[in-house]
């Protein structure tokens, strides 16, 4: 493993101070892990054809030319900066949750992902914008491809202090109306909200022809419910406290939580929204790979 790759591990990443450093470490770690530059030939407009030679990616074969001339030609692109990515970062109180085995809270994890994506996107001279929200939009930064734009993005991300409850539905509606340029919308949230309302908001993005990727950021404790002894669960986001024996309730909770996840997945699938589950104890590589795949779909 490349030394840089260790920064994809949340535990290691937690030891790094500063979001910018974390973002760079993530991206460089990720890039060093792939054999071939994953963003070669992306983000560019078509320029010319060239003849196929063994080893070329078949995905870029121009099949129309092959149909006409029976010869393989590859499409050649020239760089373009017209891909706009909007990062929608949930900064509600529930995102502050961090269980013992997790190196980062959900918000920190989401911040890292957002920062890394921003860094990556700006590296590719694409535009990236940011919206931080809880019950309302706390910050909104218009997309830009200027590398100096990164600092502003990171600054806003770090300033996000989770205090309130999530209200994703209205926020998504509002943002769908306010965002001007079509592009890719990446949602970073635990989605602890009314699912139909949230899905209605996401549907609005789709209606406005945005590609949407949902990064569902969840703590491992929320997914596995590993509690053993009698526990007083203190509610976040104005929820009441519960004193219970977690072992007896585990199955019921997992069922309940599984139904929530299922509802979200199903909603996303029906809207052709990419759903990516991000466990805060798993590598950040998943997030970057998912982004790049989505981007490819978007431009392809």
């Amino acid at each position: 493993m490349d030394a840089n790759q260790k920064y994809l591990d949340p535990q290691t990443l937690a030891k790094l101070q500063g979001l910018e450093l974390r973002a760079r470490s993530i991206v460089e770690g990720y890039v060093s892990g792939v054999h071939r530059s994953p963003y070669h030939g992306f983000s560019i407009e078509f320029a010319e054809h060239r003849e196929y030679s063994p080893g070329d990616d078949l995905r870029y074969v121009d099949w129309k030319v092959f149909g006409k001339s029976d010869k393989f030609y590859l499409k050649q692109y020239e760089e373009e900066t017209n891909l706009v990515t909007y990062l929608l970062l949930d900064t509600s109180e529930s995102m502050r949750y961090q269980s013992d085995p997790a190196g980062l809270s959900k918000l920190e994890y989401a911040q890292c992902v957002a920062a890394a994506l921003s860094y990556l996107i700006l590296q590719q001279q694409d535009s990236v914008g940011l919206a931080a929200f809880d019950t309302e939009i706390r910050s909104l930064i218009r997309p830009s491809s200027n590398p100096s734009h990164l600092k502003q993005l990171l600054h806003v991300m770090q300033r996000s202090e989770p205090v309130r409850k999530t209200r994703t539905g209205p926020i998504f509606h509002d943002l769908a109306e306010r965002l001007r340029r079509k592009g890719l919308v990446i949602v970073l949230s635990d989605l602890f909200d009314d699912v139909p309302s949230m899905m209605a908001g996401l549907k609005h993005f789709r209606h406005r022809r945005y590609d949407v990727v949902v990064f569902h950021v969840l703590d491992p404790a929320e997914l596995d419910f590993p509690f053993r002894q009698t526990t007083l669960f203190r509610g976040m986001e104005e929820m009441p406290d519960v004193l219970t024996d977690p072992r007896s309730l585990r199955k019921a909770y997992l069922d309940e939580f599984g139904r929530f996840q299922q509802a979200v997945r199903k909603g996303c699938r029906s809207q052709r929204i990419d759903y990516v589950l991000l466990r805060t104890d798993h590598s950040l590589e998943i997030a970057l790979s998912s982004y790049l795949a989505s981007r490819m779909n978007h431009v392809g």
Partner: protein, 734 residues
């Protein structure tokens, strides 16, 4: 076929272990403690946790209660198992496992003969004993003890083969005596102490008894009481003790407590008054009870009596026997549920007349001058009256003729003023006593005290005198008078209240001071006013020897004062005194024919028979041969197996060639059927329940209960169940 409901009780071998039942609260306390001791976490996905809680709260509560119940039950079962519970059925505690020595003690006191149903309590006890054996496990061993007086170990070596043991139980017969509990416990203790050596793990002792107060509340001295209690404590440590109560405490019973002749000897010459006592041992008055008098098996008289509860009622009959020989008188009650004490027998050796030999130590020169002249007259005062049939036939011989006589044919021998006795004579006199005859010694001026003391007081090995002779007491012009000593001795019964009989005014001038060995059983019947003994008597052998300190004639005269030793022979008290002396002397003849259960039968025979045995025919009809032993003057037999009441017939072969009857009666203390209550039982027994079995027809003793094993299996099952539940409910180890 009988609807006998077994009585069940429940107990624990390790009662103290039950204290650990408090540990059953542990799961509840832990549960409560856990609820108070919790960790606190902030949690984001509360919406889903709350939803899960809402939907499952009822199920969770039920699961929690179920788990709690299982864990509590687990602790309870474990503690119960360690406490070794047992089922106690009809007083029998059962503890499972190992080889057990079962000591079966059957009460052999005759109150067990009470027959409330078609079987006596003794029969029922045997039935229960057989049931105990039948219900025992393979490898158990048995011993059988009959609690009688004295107790008998019927099977002492632990029997592992039930068949033979059951035969012993079947053949067991109830003796007609009492029961000695302390002695029985000592026997049982020895048996239990040897259980280890026989490879047995523990001992169980079963007392099958009616809990009669006479047996179970023994009257003991302080030291015996302490020993008795210590023995029970020790026994309870080495064995489990169970009592099966075979009777009811308030059983009614009427018994003939005595039957006797008012005459010390019976002759064909006169009618004999017979008196008996009927006692009501119950709580209800028994009125118009039929009492029958049977003589030699024939009913001769009957009467009806009313007997108040706890009271004695005397019954009087009289009968004249037509022929000499042993006759059997039986008093028979109408009958109640305890048959044994409804009869009483009296064996009466009837004679034509009593044969008395008077040995004259100082023959007189004229009428009424010899040493025996007054005595012979006093023995048969009606000799001159041809209309009166004599009951006593005195025969006077000289001192020198003593050896020539067959003393065996005399019932009593009066020895009057005899100077001395040789060893041969002493042996003859001893044989008289051994045969139940009587000896009466009168002293006088011919007597050589040193020879008396040497030959007759045991110095030469023969003891026929109840006291030694001391110096002659005489005081000039002084008349010694008799002191009746408050008429305590039966000899003086006839004089009590009859001062005119002259006993107290009988003048005595000279007498021998009698020296009584303090260790001897001799009793002073009459004393002098100075405190010296006047008449001393003692039962020696089977007969009785009486020593009178002075003369029975006027022939002994003080040389100085010319006064006779006493003028008693001329005094009105003389005839009754001589008659009473004779009666007392021959009393043994009747009493040796009338004994109580357990006492020895036997007699010395006046000759050696041609056979080496005599035949004893028991009341049941069984005949047994008893070996004869040589005696000084003839031979002797004795028979100790008098366990049943009734008449024992003894056939003696030639040349004596006679049949004698011996009456063996019960000691009627055992007729009191009062029983002790369970709370009066010694503490070692009290943990076991008793059941009254008078009404039970068929014994039914439950099988061994492997209860603690079952409980342990239960614990194991609950452990699995708890694990399963905990896993199922999500509380188990993930």
């Amino acid at each position: 076929m009988f609807a006998h409901a077994p009585l069940l009780a429940f107990g624990f071998a390790n009662l103290l272990m039950l204290g650990w039942l408090a540990a059953a609260a542990a799961p509840i306390l832990i549960h409560l403690w856990n609820k108070r001791r919790y960790r606190e976490v902030r949690f984001a996905a509360m919406e889903y946790l709350l939803a899960a809680l809402r939907k499952n709260s009822r199920r969770l509560r039920i699961e929690q209660l179920l788990l709690l119940a299982v864990r509590t039950a687990l602790v309870v079962l474990l503690v119960l198992a360690v406490a070794q519970p047992y089922f106690e059925q009809l007083g029998l505690p059962f503890v499972a496992g190992g080889r057990t020595l079962k000591v079966i003690v059957i009460d052999g006191s005759y109150s067990m003969g009470y027959k409330p149903t078609d079987k006596t309590r003794f029969d029922r006890a045997k039935q229960w004993a057989e049931q105990i054996v039948d219900d025992s496990s393979q490898g158990d061993a048995f011993t059988l003890v009959l609690m009688a007086a004295p107790p008998t170990v019927v099977v002492g070596t632990p029997a592992v083969e039930p068949a033979g043991f059951l035969d012993e139980i079947e053949n067991l017969e109830m003796p007609h005596g009492g029961a000695d509990l302390p002695a029985t416990l000592a026997l049982v203790e020895r048996i239990c102490e040897n259980a280890d050596a026989a490879g047995l793990d523990r001992s169980e002792v079963y007392f099958l008894t009616d809990l009669g107060r006479n047996t179970w509340a023994p009257q003991l001295g302080q030291a015996e009481e302490a020993e008795y209690e210590a023995r029970i404590d020790h026994l309870s440590n080495i064995a489990s003790l169970a009592v099966l109560d075979m009777g009811k405490s308030e059983s009614e019973n009427l018994a003939v407590t005595s039957l006797s002749s008012s005459e010390p000897y019976v002759t064909t010459a006169r009618e004999v008054p017979l008196s008996a006592q009927i006692r009501n041992f119950g709580r209800q008055p028994q009125n118009h009870q039929l009492v029958e008098l049977h003589v030699d098996g024939r009913r001769v008289k009957e009467s009806y009596v009313d007997v108040a509860p706890g009271e004695d009622t005397p019954v009087h009959f009289s009968h004249r026997f037509d022929t000499p020989g042993d006759h059997v008188v039986e008093l028979r009650l109408g009958g109640d549920l305890l048959e044994v004490d409804n009869h009483r027998w009296l064996s009466a050796p009837v004679k034509e007349h009593l044969r008395v030999l008077c040995v004259n130590g100082k023959p007189g020169s004229g009428p009424m001058t010899g040493a025996t002249d007054y005595l012979a007259l006093a023995l048969n005062p009606d000799a001159a009256n041809p209309l009166v049939e004599a009951t006593v036939e005195p025969e006077v011989i000289a001192e020198s003729a003593l050896l020539e006589r067959d003393l065996g044919q005399y019932d009593c021998i009066f020895l009057c003023n005899v100077a001395q006795f040789t060893s041969s004579e002493a042996r003859l006199l001893e044989s008289v006593l051994n045969r139940g005859g009587g000896l009466v010694f009168f002293l006088g001026d011919q007597v050589m005290p040193d020879r008396y003391n040497r030959e007759l007081t045991g110095e030469q090995g023969i003891r026929v005198l109840p006291a030694r002779l001391g110096e002659i007491v005489h005081e000039a012009q002084y008349q010694y008078r008799f002191d009746p000593l408050s008429y305590r001795h039966p000899l003086l019964d006839v004089f009590e209240g009859r001062e005119q009989s002259g006993l107290l005014t009988t003048p005595v001038y000279t007498y021998y001071r009698l020296e009584i060995d303090p260790d001897a059983k001799a009793r002073v019947a009459l004393a002098f006013d100075g405190g010296d003994a006047a008449i001393v008597e003692e039962a020696i052998g089977r007969g009785r020897s009486i020593l009178v300190a002075t003369e029975c004639s006027l022939s002994s005269v003080d040389p100085a004062s010319k006064n006779p030793w006493t003028t008693m022979p001329a005094w009105p008290s003389f005839v009754p005194l001589v008659q009473e002396l004779l009666a007392l002397a021959v009393e043994g003849q009747m009493s040796q024919h009338n004994v109580e259960v357990g006492q020895l039968l036997g007699e010395s025979l006046e000759a050696v028979t041609t056979r080496s045995t005599v035949d004893v025919i028991e009341p049941s009809g069984d005949r047994s041969a008893v070996r004869l032993a040589l005696d000084a003057g003839g031979s002797r037999w004795s028979y100790s197996d008098t366990l049943q009441s009734g008449v024992y017939q003894v056939d003696i072969g030639a040349p004596i060639d006679r049949s004698e009857a011996f009456a063996v009666n019960v000691d009627t203390r055992e007729s009191d059927l009062a029983a002790i209550g369970p709370d009066e039982l010694p503490r070692a027994f009290s943990t076991h329940r008793q059941a009254s079995l008078d009404e039970a027809d068929t014994p039914s003793i439950g099988q061994r209960s492997g209860l603690h094993k079952g409980l342990l299996y239960g614990v194991l099952g609950l452990l699995f169940f708890e694990t399963l539940l905990a896993w199922r409910f999500g509380r188990g180890v993930q």
